[in-house]
Amino acid sequence: MAQAPALPTGFELPLEPRLPRIGSVDQVAVEARATDLSRRSIKREAKLFALDLAVRMMDLTTLEGADTPGKVAALASKAVRPDPADASVPSVAAVCVYPNLVQTAKERVADSGVKVASVATAFPSGQSPTDLKVAEARRVVELGADEVDMVIDRGAFLAGRYAKVYDEIVQIKEAVGDTHLKVILEVGELGTYDNVRRASLLAIAAGADFIKTSTGKLSSSATLPVTLVMLEAIRDVYEETGRRVGMKPAGGIRNAKQAVQTLVIVHETLGLDWLTPDLFRFGASSLLNDVLMQIRKEKTGRYQSPDYFTLD
């Protein structure tokens, strides 16, 4: 497991020395590049390949105050067998739920290979004392989560207190041990691509296994340029250190076309190596059914009524 660099905690200025070149991002140019890539025309077998991959990379998510064991059980069943009418459609990567529902989800996915991820660290705001967040993360692992999705402290980040953000991630990484840690940047609150890049590198340096765009609680989230900026940060770390960090766009990806565009960006930025659920995930709730509809359409040549796809 990748280890956070051994550096003193509580040291306030050290972004540059402890990270590879931070650099900056040009907004106009990165948006133009993302638009260019989104215009790739992905058809027939190439599209089917991407759709199948999108299913296998999906973290099927429900994070509502109204979530109940019944709701989560239904979702977990869907995760294991997304399309009951087509056995060739694979299971998704994981279900993502609040801590109280981890056990329900675990029981339902059983030994299907589908993972259970849970959010922790005062999700979605992250505005709690560090010791509480650490305790919550540890507890979530005890409850049986295979993966933990934490949020960074945006309040600290925007106040320029990068070391606080960094140290907190390091502590949470220690608390969850070998459990897969995804670090949510909540890009919609960071304001600039420069900050997205900065936060990405910071989270990676602190030990993140994955960096994730958003909580899904804001309207602005996993846009294509944001995804591109984060993938470029991952690429720079890989080039410099050989370490492979995963990426999870979440929030705002609602249809199959966006998923395919996102995969094109991954493919042309990081290459084939990242086209696996080990290194790339989609966090989504409504995306799956659209992908299933598109898969059926590619296989049969016809669109079918949404009535043929289960609502869970």
Binding site: M1, R21, G23, S24, V25, D26, V28, A29, V30, A32, R33, R39, R40, S41, I42, K43, R44, E45, A46, K47, F49, A50, L53, R56, G113, D146, G177, D178, T179, H180, E232, E239, H267, E268, L272, D273, W274, L275, T276, P277, D278, L279
Partner: protein, 496 residues
């Protein structure tokens, strides 16, 4: 334990993801077997009775036969333009001229897919570019100059602008329709009539444009199109026109200037370039890489303002070159009509030979060559995107315009050295500066001898922005209010 489990379940990454071919359909384009000259609003057979064949450079397949216009044909076209000028066009209400220009712009937008496909078919450029760049910009030029047609007095206060008469216009093969728009739109807005000669290898969109002129009901003779090779161009230069506007090589530009010396005919030239694209170490690196790629591989490098000399600050040289090489591996070279193609075909055999010659010279002079692995089609004219590193200022590939997908990389240490190297060329068309430091952009722009300077972008065009060169890159400006001036003469008004 958890780690072992995870390892055990590792999902292997795929070994390939081939994008299925996604060709734009050719069906929308209807080609004639043989075209005529467009003179006085009609297609007519050439008096020279000579024809030549234009091909698709991606397949070498013949597309159509075109007249090789002789001096008599050119004179006839100039006469038609002269008639149209005298009998109506020069006296038409300026708002009338605007009306036709607006119509042309809108018809171009409506028929843009047809034009884009034909442009890629005849010229070899990727459909992605003809669709997203050439066509929108061509239409935008007509819209822009339509707006000026009835406001010339406001463009040049106290100067009473008058049209010149007949403009002879000779355009290159790299942006056939766009260069036509750059030439025709300001000429008509200013009240002139024109005889235009498209490039020998790429005449088809100009001839399809004649159909647009008819649809717009432009009065006959206001725009005339004559096709042919360099001899036709020479005949046009010698003919009874009032002005020549030429875009093309510096060599031909010089010959035209010699020919016109002392004749009183006006002249504007937009010629070659060897632009420096200057990368400072504080730039946004990944976006700079995109800018470098767009600077030199856009339109296969067949761009007079291409960023063909990359000047990189030494402190950032290695990571930048690594990133650039990695990026080149993702460029998709092939069928120009495929929507996923990034680099299309080289425009002609002649141009391919010129690129090959200069690349061979670069290798011989000792530069290090990098070309990504790349499968080229068997037929047609192709060249792999190429980067030369370890290039010295004295090498031919650092001095001569290659006009192909070939980048020469040099390094510098300080801003002063960057300016010195950038200006050390007979050309001066364009330059690029990449830095996050705003003050440095301005400092550089004041010192670079180039008509267009891009900051943190490259190869961006807008009809409102003047374009043209310093030194051997030519004189006169196209685009913007400046672009009207070469098509006007002025009676100074005193007391205003």
């Amino acid at each position: 334990m958890a780690e072992l489990e995870q390892r055990g379940e590792r999902t292997p990454a795929p070994t390939a993801w081939e994008y299925a071919s996604a060709p734009e359909s050719r069906e929308i384009v209807k080609l004639e077997e043989r075209y005529g000259l467009f003179v006085g609003g009609e297609f007519i057979a050439p008096r020279s009775d000579e024809y030549y064949t234009t091909i698709n450079p991606a397949t070498e397949e013949p597309l159509a036969e075109l007249p090789q216009a002789g001096p008599e044909d050119v004179a006839f076209a100039v006469e038609a333009a002269r008639d149209a000028f005298a009998n109506g066009w020069s006296a038409a209400a300026p708002a009338e001229r605007a009306k036709y220009l607006y119509r042309i712009a809108r018809i171009l937008q409506e028929r843009s897919r047809e034009f884009a496909v034909l442009e890629s078919l005849n010229g070899g450029k990727p459909i992605r570019e003809s669709r997203d760049v050439d066509l929108p910009l061509a239409a935008a030029h007509f819209f822009y100059y339509a707006g000026w047609a009835d406001k010339l007095e406001y463009a040049f206060p106290h100067r009473r602008p008058q049209p010149l008469g007949v403009a002879g216009q000779i355009i290159p093969w790299n942006f056939p329709l766009l260069m036509l728009a750059w030439k025709i739109a300001p000429a008509l807005a200013a009240g002139n009539t024109v005889v235009l000669k498209p490039a020998e290898t790429t005449p088809l969109t100009a001839l399809l444009f004649c159909d647009v002129l008819r649809q717009a009901e432009l009065p006959p003779g206001v725009v005339n199109i004559v096709t042919g090779d360099g001899a036709t161009g020479a005949a046009l230069v010698k003919s009874d026109v009032d002005k020549i506007a030429f875009t093309g090589s510096t060599e031909v530009g010089k010959a035209i200037q010699r020919e016109l010396a002392g004749t009183g005919k006006k002249l504007t030239l937009e010629l070659g370039g060897k632009a420096a694209n200057i990368i400072f170490d504080d730039c946004a690196l990944d976006q700079a890489v995109e800018g470098i790629v767009n600077g030199i591989y856009f339109n296969q490098g067949h761009v007079c303002c291409a960023g063909s000399r990359l000047l990189v600050q030494e402190s950032i040289y290695e990571p930048l070159i690594e990133k650039l090489k990695r990026r080149l591996k993702t460029l998709r070279v092939g069928d120009p009509l495929d929507k996923n193609t990034d680099l299309g075909a080289i425009n002609s055999r002649q141009q391919l030979e010129k690129i090959e010659e200069l690349v061979a010279a670069g290798k011989e002079e000792g530069a290090e060559i990098y070309q990504p692995p790349c499968r080229l089609p068997e037929k047609g004219y192709w060249f792999v995107p190429t980067v030369f590193t370890n290039v010295a200022q004295s090498y031919r590939i650092a001095q001569e315009e290659i006009f192909g997908p070939v980048l020469s990389v040099l390094t510098f240490r300080t801003p002063d050295e960057a300016v010195e190297k950038a200006n050390n060329t007979p050309y001066g068309l364009s330059a690029g500066v990449w830095t996050e430091k705003g003050s440095r952009i301005l400092w550089m722009a004041q010192r670079l001898e180039a008509g267009v300077i891009w900051a943190n972008t490259y190869n961006r065009f807008d009809p409102a922005s003047p374009f043209g060169g310093y030194k051997e890159s030519g004189f006169g400006r196209e685009g913007g209010r400046h672009g009207l001036e070469p098509y006007l003469e002025f009676a100074e008004v005193s007391g205003g």
